[in-house]
């Protein structure tokens, strides 16, 4: 996938960008204390990755 600027994102990079941005937003909106925010952001990011990659593997048999 190509950005208008000419740079490009792979599927994985787009997925990681999405997961990171949303996790940070959730962490700051959902928690007040710094330590709680960091834990929430990391846990949310991990779950995004786990669910995304899990669904990817679950769909793999149907890809061909």
């Amino acid at each position: 996938m190509t950005l208008a600027s000419g740079e490009s994102f792979t599927h994985m990079q787009a997925f990681l960008l999405f997961a990171a941005v949303i996790s940070v937003a959730f962490g700051f909106l959902g928690r007040r204390q710094r330590k709680d925010r960091i834990k929430y952001i990391l846990w949310s990011f991990f779950l995004f990755l786990a669910v995304g990659i899990g669904i990817g593997w679950a769909m793999y048999p149907f890809s061909r």
Partner: protein, 145 residues
């Protein structure tokens, strides 16, 4: 005076009552609308600088990435219910909707996977901003946020 007469009787507020239209309620609505129009402004008005900056940056990053990758930015004249839902989600970015429009001068291109990702980026930015505006509204009403 008897003990019973000193007890406070809880009264539910109806939407049209004087208390429901109090200045703090009006201010909360103002904060919510400001937060919708400019991502992060609702929190900035309440001096929640960290949250304001994060909301501004996260919504901004998603909008700029989505528009740069030529995602589908829906308009009001959609063909079906999904287009209308997409338009409502995109409108959630407030003023950034017009930023995305100005960035996407070549129009959408969803013939490749990048455009499809970008469409999700734009819709997510809108929904995230609406969530942040709701959060700012709750904080302005004095609820734990």
């Amino acid at each position: 005076m008897s003990q019973e007469s000193n007890e406070t009787i809880p009264v539910e507020l109806s939407p049209g009552s004087a208390e429901a239209n109090s200045p703090s309620e009006s201010r909360a609505w103002g904060v919510a609308i400001a937060g919708w129009l400019v991502p992060g402004l609702g929190h900035a008005l309440q001096r929640m600088w960290g949250r304001a900056l994060v909301v501004f940056l996260t919504v901004g990053i998603l909008v700029v990435a989505g528009a740069s990758m030529r995602g589908n930015l829906f308009t009001s004249n959609g063909n079906d219910a999904f287009d209308t839902l997409g338009y409502l989600a995109d409108l959630g970015t407030g003023s950034f909707y017009f930023l995305a429009r100005s960035l996407e001068h070549d129009g959408a291109d969803v013939s490749h996977s990048g455009g499809d990702y970008a469409t999700r980026f734009l819709a997510t930015a809108g929904v995230l901003n609406l969530l942040a505006a709701l959060h700012a509204y709750e904080a302005a009403r004095g609820r734990k946020a």
